[in-house]
Symmetry: C2
């Protein structure tokens, strides 16, 4: 422990309080073991028989007693110091502990009135745990007080830091498992302390729980020297307080002192932060080293259990096929907690223990921050129409679509600065992604030193940037889960880094929708730019539009995908997404100056529909078209319009319909996605029998996947990125992937025999053009003038 002087008077627990805390912990442990094993006879009023035990024993014991220990002690400091504190359970499977903790404090019963605080309630609680259709062995959305699901490991600290942003009063006790601590996302999340503002943000109190083992291996952090461990966390910028041992009495005393000290440090840091020229604080954290499966069976069938990896799941098998003494061992184990002292005759926690829990919203299972939708307020949004690009006629050059929306986002930040409920996250790409306008009104929040020539860095700012997509995503999720709004901007290819985090968040959203007591939260908005087609100097490694393929697999009522073709459409989509709830909205947009197609009025109409015929580019008015040219995404739209103009020039007799898709799910049937078109509406756009040549932003198969069961599927021909790329111009990228204007025209001709020799001749011309292009770009390092200077002509 550090040498700073303890300012807190009370330095050791009174024997009375120690006894009660120990009893409360025993109650939590009892309820945890009950969840793992018991189907009947929850209070062991009768001698334990096999038929009282569940048929299938599933669940996890290892981390549970340690987390019960922590939860119990946190209850004490919450009450003692009137803390606004919530609990994040990082280790994989601490479900029994958080369920026990919230049950004992009463919140579980408030949320699930059927799970009463009596013998029958206990029996039901025990039975539903890890039971088909029941509750999980980790802190799932079903658990009151949880903002973090422990299924996939690594995000507990990032979630916690995101949650305390702009919540200056909030303290998150974030239990980090030593297994989880080996993951990459967690290993870098310790650095989040450089991004916190002690004046305007809350506090994360990490509790690294060294119980020594994962599923069947020791953990790295439990097997390095004490010196290394301390250096590591001091190097990460923390002030580690060690609580180590296994004797409960001594551990209670040490833990209490450690927490008193931590609270004292936190208060001191908060106080210091108000003084001028304060330095980046060294926040306290706790390292709790306790045996895995603490207080459980010491040895079973000759195997060491407590303090070993074998305590990870069910430490003691009990069934008709296990040795008969196992049943007795289970009974002894449960009785070792002396339930008769903990629960009254009805099965209710005795009053002297019940009073240890905090009251009302101070209970960690009832804290409003853990059901963020309760705190959610709409954003104040300026009228996005005020940021419109003037488009007098289609094809005028723009400033860069994200660049234009940057001005809108700037004013979103400004309008909500007082409420402090909107933030932008990104891995050092907000400027590169052309959202720099936001820095006219805010900064990147940065707690480390600022030196001359730095730009847009300050202790307080609405933009969070760290070169870790995991951190950006995790922070934003934590921010949203606690009832605020935000946007993650990212290079398109590298959003795959958080594929699995998106999965888990989408699952969280889906599950919470099914829980009436969980309120909806703001949507997770992901703006993807620096796209596959515009990697002029980054090349092949930066080309991957496949996040969309990943997203569409998640539940249809959660996911939304938008590909606005120009700046006005992006504004309209952005506004829509910032107003929405409980979705993951993925927006793909360009950042480079590019042609603009729709004025604001048209853009609003087009985006509201999500898909539509572009009449200015079509010549099939009031007839059936010969061909439908569809497009989705900015570069595909440009190439499609260029192709349409070539066709209309050379074959004016052809009836061409241009369809643009902003809302990707319009392609899917209305029976599969709420945004999907009915077959009637779909067929009205795409016809039932005419060829469709579709230029798509992403992998072409995604369009097939969405439209495989549409009437005109057999005539659908999709061009998109087929994993061909290098350092080159945007136009050359389309050529490499055969999505350029010339290939599109040839695709149309190939599908229209009526073009006859005229078609053959035009194809020959375009083939020559492609050869010219190759030669020109090789010699000049840029595109031919006719490409560079091409303009849409009405």
């Amino acid at each position: 422990m550090e040498t700073e002087i303890l300012n807190i008077e009370q330095a050791e627990l009174s024997p009375e309080l120690l006894r009660k805390i120990h009893a409360y912990w025993r109650a939590a442990n009892y309820i945890s073991v009950g969840q793992l094993y018991m189907h009947h006879n929850p209070l062991l009023k009768e001698p334990l028989k096999l038929e009282h035990v569940k048929n299938m024993l599933l669940g996890h014991w290892g981390t549970t007693p340690g987390q019960n220990f922590i939860y119990t002690h946190l209850n004490r400091i919450i009450t003692q110091y009137d803390l606004n504190m919530i609990y994040v359970s990082g280790p994989g499977h601490g479900g029994p502990a958080v369920v026990a903790g919230t049950y004992l404090e009463g919140t579980y019963t408030e949320v699930y009135p059927d799970i009463t605080q009596d013998e029958e309630g206990l029996r039901k609680l025990f039975t539903r745990f890890s039971y088909p259709g029941g509750i999980s062995s980790h802190a799932s959305p079903q658990t009151p007080g949880s903002i973090h699901e422990g299924g996939e490991l690594g995000y507990s600290l990032s979630h916690s830091f995101g949650a305390v942003l702009d919540n200056p009063d909030l303290i998150i006790a974030c239990v980090v498992g030593d297994g989880e601590a080996e993951t990459g996302p967690l290993a870098t999340a310790w650095h989040s302390n450089k991004f916190l503002n002690p004046l305007t943000d809350g506090t994360v109190l990490p509790i690294l729980h060294l119980n020594g083992y994962k599923i069947s291996n020791p953990t790295v952090l439990a097997r390095i020297t004490h010196e290394e461990l301390e250096q590591l966390f001091r190097g990460y910028g923390w002030n580690p307080i060690f609580v180590e041992g296994e004797d409960p009495e001594q551990m209670h005393k040490d833990m209490a002192m450690a927490l008193d000290y931590a609270v004292d440090r936190i208060k001191q840091i908060k106080y210091d932060a108000e003084q001028p020229n304060s330095l980046r604080p060294r926040w306290p954290m706790i390292v709790l080293r306790s045996p895995k499966g603490w207080t459980g069976p010491k040895e079973v069938d000759g195997h060491k259990i407590e303090g070993n990896f074998r305590a990870h799941q069910i430490p003691l098998a009990v069934s008709a096929s296990t040795p008969p003494e196992h049943l007795q061992m289970l009974e002894d184990w449960m009785k070792s907690y002396r339930p008769e002292e903990l629960f009254d005759e009805d099965g209710k926690l005795v009053p002297e223990l019940a009073e240890l829990a905090p009251k009302g919203d101070r209970r960690m299972g009832a804290n409003p921050h853990t059901n963020g939708g309760n705190l959610l307020r709409d954003l104040r949004l300026p009228d996005f129409r005020d940021y419109a690009t003037v488009v007098e006629s289609p094809g005028v050059n723009g400033e860069g679509d994200t660049y234009v929306s940057g001005r809108f986002l700037r004013d979103v930040i400004k309008a909500n600065q007082e409420k402090r409920n909107f933030r932008i996250f990104g891995p050092d790409e907000t400027v590169s992604n052309k959202l720099d306008a936001v820095f006219e009104v805010t900064n990147r929040q940065w707690g480390a030193p600022v030196i001359p020539y730095d730009e847009f860095l300050a202790a307080d700012g609405s933009v969070m940037e760290m070169l870790s997509e995991h951190q950006c995503e995790g922070w934003l999720e934590g921010y949203l889960l606690t009832g605020r709004h935000g946007l993650f901007n990212c290079y398109e290819a590298f959003i795959h880094i958080v594929d699995s985090m998106f999965n888990q968040h989408a699952k969280w959203l889906k599950t919470t929708l099914e829980l009436p007591w969980r309120r909806r939260i703001a949507s997770l908005n992901i703006l993807l730019t620096s796209t596959v087609w515009r990697q002029d100097h980054n090349g092949f490694t930066h080309q991957d539009p496949g996040f969309l393929d990943h997203v569409v697999n998640k539940k249809a009522n959660i996911v939304r995908v938008y590909l606005p073709p120009d700046a006005n459409c992006l504004l309209s989509v952005m506004d829509h997404c910032l107003r929405s709830y409980h979705y993951v909205n993925v927006i793909v947009a360009g950042k480079h100056p590019a042609p603009q197609w729709l004025n604001m009025e048209q853009a609003v109409e087009h985006c509201t529909r999500g898909i539509g015929i572009w009449n200015f580019a079509s010549n099939d008015q009031e007839t059936e078209p010969d061909v439908v040219m569809a497009c989705s995404g900015d570069v595909p739209t440009l190439e499609t319009l260029a192709a349409a103009s070539i066709l209309r020039e050379h074959m004016p007799e052809l009836k061409i319909r241009v369809v643009n898709v902003v809302d990707l799910f319009k392609l899917q049937k209305s029976t599969e996605h709420a945004h999907g078109l009915s077959d009637k509406d779909y067929n009205a756009l795409f016809t039932t029998d005419k060829p469709v040549v579709f230029a798509f932003h992403g992998y072409p198969w995604l369009v097939h996947r969405l439209t495989y069961n549409r009437a005109n599927n057999v005539n659908m021909h999709v061009r998109g990125y087929k994993e061909e790329g290098t350092i080159t111009t945007s136009f050359d990228m389309t050529v490499l992937n055969e999505m350029d204007r010339f290939h599109l025209v040839m695709d149309v001709i190939d599908r229209l025999p009526q073009t006859g020799s005229k078609g053959v001749y035009l194809k020959q011309q375009l083939t020559d053009k492609l050869t010219q292009h190759k030669q020109y770009i090789k010699a000049n390092g840029k595109d031919m003038p006719e490409i560079l200077n091409w303009k849409w002509k009405q």
Copy 2:
């Protein structure tokens, strides 16, 4: 620096050597700037004119001079100590440096004879850099000596550690960027030092390059105190040696001393490791703090450049539209390196500098480990048929498919133990994934202390386990890239954690196939188990079969997907994958005891075809079927066979064909994937007009995406995982997703009007069964006996 005594005599560079090293660095910097800017006049023999400069200036300067500095100094120690060393360039965009380094040492010209070591060669080299169709601004596969592409950040250390495994003589100088160091994967990769065996593995010498800035932000590690930085790396278990400054002369001296010291420590550690009871070593690392854009322009247009984030890309814009003095500044900058002293009249590096480079294979660009295919030898594989499960008739119960293949893998390890060229990687799941048999012959390699009751841990072992999918994947990639073989076993849902790493590796494989001088390497084999259908106690968070959707987007000649339905098929597939080259093979298999269908002979035949009719389950022999029941994956196969047996019992007159798919790409057209079936063969299996009810392991849409352009597409009805799940039995999971036997039967009936009232009646019966199932599982926590005890009957 540490207090250990330097054993190396030479403690400071001689003035002569210092002068030469500085000149070599200047040459590398000159060639780097040339790559960024020059199209003509590469040696500045004429006064610089605008037409000598490239039209589009793209590329990255910031990290380049620092990496040139490192590369130059490494050359010195390689020569001095005859080191077997290679270079990994971690920072995003050090392309100009590695190109310059390998060009100066002669390897670039050996690989690309067109890029001669003269003026014309220089001109061509400069021109191709960051030019359409040219070479990237990072250490891409095109760069000799590279085993690591710098496009997506975070994997340099993991790759390096994987590469030194079983290469005791090899040292990898791994330059880690301070931006990259913020990523999660990199932050945990520092812990790899606990997994290295100093006797049997080589050495990673990390060089943390603190140049202070990312694209437009400072870096975290550059802005913490020196004390914290040192603590952090000591805490990670390293011995950091600091080289900090900007004065070239002093920096040369300090870097030379630091490297001498590092080599000495490495030799000492290697020596100590041979002594009994040696402790885990504290390997040296170097922290190099030097200005971003070192030696480049100090200031441009009033902006600070050197030592600031503005040095990241092109630090000085030079074009017709920039101020005219910029051209002069560029000329001054390039001339500041005094090219006339470095290159002779022909443009060749002067001999006194050229001799500084190591010779032959000791050159970092020529080291055989960097073109691993050169070193690759086939594995010795036991006959997989010897591990067959006896299947006297279809439906016998198995031991768990991965469990059976564990015995095969055990003997693969044994057979190659002497060669040390095969390893298994996994995030603490090798036992959980039922591959425990491998621990009969090997251990998990673990360099931290081993204590009583640990299992299968040793200083030397063929299994690498750390709770970081990133590390497992990165280690394995490094191992493969240097010419060895391996397997990554992972829970299916969490393989998404490495989606983006898979992307980059698949891109590497695709690109290297196109480079004749790059030799093919062993396939990246990924075994996915603990699948979506068998998450009985983990539930919804552990359910995601979407990695397959992700994989199929990559280039068809790189990716392979297998879903063996039983143990014998898995053995056959595993053997095939371990023999293959240059693919990513994804194998999805079950780990729980489950029915077995094919004996070994049948399995080999079935897997060789990859898809086929299962005659034992079909009754359409010598006729057209009424319905095709297709399946892919172990659980879908079980449900399909159960459905077929219900149909055959109740409607023996129906002609049912059961088709099983092992090799997923068989579904795609032969024009799209080498494994794809021709339309003729596909139609022979699936018919052109009969209903197909397909039970698929993954998301159902993947089958539609693969078959959208097949004749019978309109009749294809696919069941699979549609994101419905919880803690429950495998059978109940299929019910939740309507892929269970009862739903499959109803799907068939719905598509066969000829079943008439018999069909209606059977549907009613099955609907009742589903209700019974729901009630039974709720009451008993397990499946109905008729499900549990169901057996296939001929």
